[in-house]
Symmetry: C2
Subunit: 230 residues, 2 copies
């Protein structure tokens, strides 16, 4: 697989998807593999990961995506996305703690949403975002970022569709953030936006709650954000 012709300055990297067998994992796997990166699908179950990797590779028409357990994936990749359901995020990370070494970049894409009186709301406790909760579960030296929280997963998984939206990336590790922004820049029709420190994950998660409401109200599945003026 050759480098993306438009972004030759961005090195192609190995990227892991922890719990990458769901719809979020599918979208990221397809977009990242199509951009030329080496993608590793992780699951607790090797056979489940293998089945999904095979599906995705047949969609891409080339065998670029590899499958392994979540724990193996952490040994293979320095950047891993956490693509499990929001309410399992802390538990999954705790179970993988021994595999998380300093220098690892963990990208949280989860948003806890609950429904009350037919309306979505942020499912966090107190004012904390899921990313802030996760942050407290990580060993020292692991860089936590947030990204793709506001990008509809099923649209991400449609390689025939343009995304035409912004990807907000926040976190306290600025070098890691720069690396992730460079990776996002390799995906056509997406713009990475530096959304500040990890604290700003509160805004990103609340934006997802609004997008879910807008999808219901306007009978869409594709509500997403674009910042005007920057």
């Amino acid at each position: 697989v050759g480098p993306d012709r438009h972004h030759q300055e961005t090195p192609l990297v190995k990227i892991g998807l922890i719990g990458g067998t769901g719809i979020e994992g599918k979208g990221l796997a397809l977009r990242l593999a199509a951009a030329g990166h080496s993608v590793f699908i992780g699951s607790r179950s090797q056979s489940k990961a293998s089945a999904r990797a095979e599906q995705f590779n047949s969609m891409l028409e080339r065998p670029t995506i590899q499958a392994m357990t979540n724990m193996e994936l952490l040994r293979e990749t320095r950047i891993a996305f956490l693509t499990v359901p929001a309410d399992q995020a802390v538990e999954v990370i705790s179970s993988l703690r021994s595999g998380l070494a300093p220098g690892q970049i963990l990208v949280d894409v989860t948003v806890p949403v609950k429904f009350q009186e037919g309306s979505p709301r942020h499912g966090g406790v107190d004012m904390l975002s899921n990313a802030e909760r996760l942050s407290a579960s990580l060993p020292p030296g692991v860089d936590l970022l947030c990204a793709f929280k506001t990008v509809p997963a099923h649209l991400l998984a449609r390689l025939d569709r343009r995304l035409d939206c912004d990807v907000f990336i926040c976190g306290d590790a600025s070098e890691a953030k720069e690396q992730l922004m460079a990776i996002v820049r390799t995906i056509p029709s997406l713009r990475p936006v530096d959304a500040g420190p990890l604290l700003m994950s509160r805004s990103l998660e609340h934006m997802t709650v609004l997008a879910i409401w807008l999808n219901r109200r306007y009978r869409s599945k594709e509500a997403r954000y674009r910042i005007v003026g920057i």
Copy 2:
């Protein structure tokens, strides 16, 4: 003043701006008056309101905006925007309580923001939005809406500039919301978006916090939102 030619179905209405002497009041006064509505600038001080109304009228080159005290304004208009600083919103509304009658529509545009370690954050207590706090101070029968929380005030005040963004409107009173959406539709280059129940004000206020951060990061004063896909 004739009706906006493109929106003849929308009746022009009387609109009050409580504490309308600041930058938010300026932007709303100019845009609403330019669209043909009757705008009333309110202040605690009649002379302060008059001075600002005179300024705005000279910018518009026609004497359409009137000045009065906040309390008088509530007698004149059925729709009033609350355009005071966020930390004064509850106090101002409490002082006007006797003027708030059932059927009045109050539009909250405020966002409480505080800075910590150089980064903006939502200044609310617990998870509550400013709109939710306000809601608890209102007499029964007053319909509270939120709007314009994410639209940069100084850009609103530049009639020579297109806005090209969405105005998110939330609140629990659906008829009032429809009326406000029709009013927003009379302002060129703005799209009203039904952003759900009042609870969704949490998302809107957190979006303003992110926009403030983006303005710093990208040396802009104009970061604003556009939803793609609806």
